[in-house]
Amino acid sequence: MKLDAKIPEGTIEKKWDDHRFKLKLVNPANKRKFSIIVVGSGLAGASAAASLGELGYKVLCFFYQDSPRRAHSIAAQGGINAAKNYTNDGDSIYRLFYDTVKGGDYRAREANVYRLAQVSNAIIDQCVAQGVPFAREYGGTLDNRSFGGAQVSRTFYARGQTGQQLLLGAYSSLMRQVRAQTVTLFPRQEMLDLVVVEGRARGIVTRNLITGELRSFAADAVVLATGGYGNVFYLSTNAKGCNVTAAYRAYKKGAGFANPCFTQIHPTCIPVHGEYQSKLTLMSESLRNDGRIWVPLKAKDGKLPSLIPEAERDYFLERRYPAFGNLVPRDVASRAVKAVCDEQRGVGETGLGVYLDFSDAIQRLGEQDIRDKYGNLFHMYQKITAENPYQVPMRIYPAVHYTMGGLWVDYNLMTTIDGCYAIGEANFSDHGANRLGASALMQGLADGYFILPYTIGDYLAQAGNSRIAVEHAEFRGCEQAAEQRITKLLSIRGRRSPDSFHRELGKLMWNDCGMARNQSGLQHALEQIPKIRQAFWQDLKLAGPANTLNQTLEKAGRVADFLEFAELMVRDALARGESCGGHFREESQTEEGEARRDDGAFSHVAVWEYRGESTTPERAIEPLLFDYCKPSQRSYK
């Protein structure tokens, strides 16, 4: 696979400006002649669709929920970063850039990250102007808080509901364009295939989730903003419907898939409690501003937390990482939590948990202050666990949360298929091997409001405007393939539900390709996944027809894709013999148990190319060069 990242020449500060100047423009009067499909209505999709609509393009926006406002971006809690330096604590575009590259353990593309930091400030301006009710200081200016992996306060927030408020802001801009008739919404539609004609992405095939109707849509370009694939682990902080289907279908049509093994395990989630559990709930990283993480010093202590005196507590993050303390990046915190639980010092029924304790903060600041900052999170915690975190420490454990891997894109956010773009969590993104907190919202909105609208114009101006009918053989072929697959799923008539396969896959992935990975575990997974997949296609049980709302059928389609995609993830994890960020290979660690990168062998993006059902995919690389942030072993000590 030929990879040209199209990184502009020039100094890092000037790349984006120079590039923008060189991009071809579409004449304003001609924009409405171009149609663009945007799949996804999360922060990335909604902001892109709205902005493209504002520019005058004809936009078709698809999503599987009933309203664009329900995309999983809504669930983001903690905040969004920007280099405003409103707190006067030494922040700058350069520092945000540097922190992000370092936080990602030097596995991101410098030029993209710098641009992200550059446009971050405009995002805050845009959201404020939309009426996003960000938290304020008493003087009326915007308030900030700190997030992991940074020593400045650059995170803007709206209580513990920042994602909700940003998404509702983007949604309002989107609905304004719906009213202006530049954007047409297609709710409850699932993209099942990408249609590529003569090497260009020309449309998609969707299933109407209410009527079951399969339908083709043609356009001049296709933008995938379909979110992350964390649900490959079954249990994650993602919404139940989050899937890899759209991205995986694009991969099968020729889009390179980058770093699929880079997944983020978030340290602070509510621990698992039972086999029937359907999802995991995040407790925002912002809590680590005021909560202290600890476990008993003694293994299997068993005493109530209130009965454990200070001297018998181990504030292990503060002890191991005095400079960053409880605010070390997520990958570092998660592994440290796992390590103490492996030493049998974990708390709670299962022993898979540590305390996140607010008693010091409550004493120092008062309960009301804590309530103002984190009220809704405490409320949520109490709902789920029936424990009052104002009185007893929270119990938390790491859980799958975010996927840094995704469709490979060049500097213009285009995948390896002409005219097919990927934005937001769906692309392999700017976060390298580990994303810093509050940076996904920033990236999704940067892509959608301020990057894609420029770069896609350049493509359209060059590709020109040529109509294609959905009667074209390529569309018909994709529709037929989608239909055959649905018929096949329904005709298996076996004994097991889609969920039972999904759970089995999830357990395997968590054990063998989770927080710590090693050669033999990964090899084991590589043997097991095809077996689960085979069982799925022989023993799946569904009920109900295809021509009405059929949620079991929807699930089966998504699980089928996860069962293939999981294998790609494991292959990628096997091939990357180093540890970096969230990808921890036990074979590659320092004496202190920290991740050890191998820049000589792995300073690159791994990009996988689909080679057909019975052929192993091919691994290409995009070398990563660091002209500004010189790679060093990350240290948060």
Partner: protein, 246 residues
């Protein structure tokens, strides 16, 4: 724990629906309400019966996708809780639980417990926004907002658009939903320019979509999982009157 469920089953809008009894036995008290439904659905599937269709996604009380009427209350009897956050420990062992869709003229039924709430999107499209183009905004701190004002706006903005308020209202009114958006934008300095037209157009869209009028029953606030206050309805009324006088 063991429960008897009576669930509204309706294959499609054109068919007649009815309450069907199922036994939900051996359920952990720690399971969430939707996890209980998952278990029941797995068992139905095992028997070759069609699982109960219900909407859900985030399962953490924020996307607004879930929501059924449980024993007569939208999202169940626990205050300030979405259905996905409700846990089975709130139901006594051996009890009967009646589960029905959110019913309203403006929310046509799709299947079983799933309804079409796109009328809410129409209300927002009518004016639930501030007209600002990407790229044209001034510096964020150029528009100071008093902390209390930002907090009040946030109280209104917390609405998740689930539709419980409509289903609970004897008139199937969407006043709480509409007023929450109007208040959020109307309380902030950024929202002043379009304040009048916004009130006029959103209220009109609300009526056009088939929602009823408000006659101050207050059921909406009682069931709202985000405990949005009916005070915002007074805000709407004021803005609407002012805008119609102009």
């Amino acid at each position: 724990m063991n429960y008897t469920l009576k669930v509204w089953r309706q294959a499609r809008p054109s068919e007649k629906g009815k309450l069907v009894s199922y036994s939900a036995h051996g359920i952990s008290s720690e399971a969430s309400f939707l996890e209980m439904l998952d278990i029941v659905n797995e068992r139905l599937l095992e028997k070759g019966e069609e699982p109960i269709a219900f909407d859900h996604d985030c399962r953490e009380g924020i996307c607004g996708m879930c929501g059924s009427v449980v024993n007569g209350y939208a999202h169940g009897h626990q205050r300030g809780t979405t259905l996905c956050q409700l846990h089975m420990r709130e139901f006594s062992d051996g009890s009967t639980i009646i589960i029905e869709p959110l019913r309203a003229k403006a929310f046509p039924l799709i299947k079983d417990l799933v309804v079409d709430r796109s009328a809410f999107d129409k209300i927002i499209a009518a004016g639930g926004f501030i007209s600002i183009r990407a790229g044209s905004a001034p510096d964020g701190n150029a528009i100071p907002v008093a902390k209390e004002m930002a907090e009040r706006a946030m109280d209104a903005a917390a609405c998740i658009g689930c539709g419980a308020c409509v289903a609970a209202c004897p008139n199937a009114s969407a006043m709480l939903f509409t007023s929450a958006k109007l208040a959020q934008l109307g309380l902030l300095p950024q929202g002043q320019v379009e304040r009048d037209s916004r009130a006029r157009e959103m209220v009109r869209a609300m009526e056009d979509a088939g929602f009823g009028a408000c006659s101050n029953h207050g059921e909406c606030e009682a069931v709202c999982p985000k405990e949005i206050s009916t005070n915002f309805i007074a805000f709407l009324n004021r803005d609407f009157i002012v805008s119609s006088m102009k």
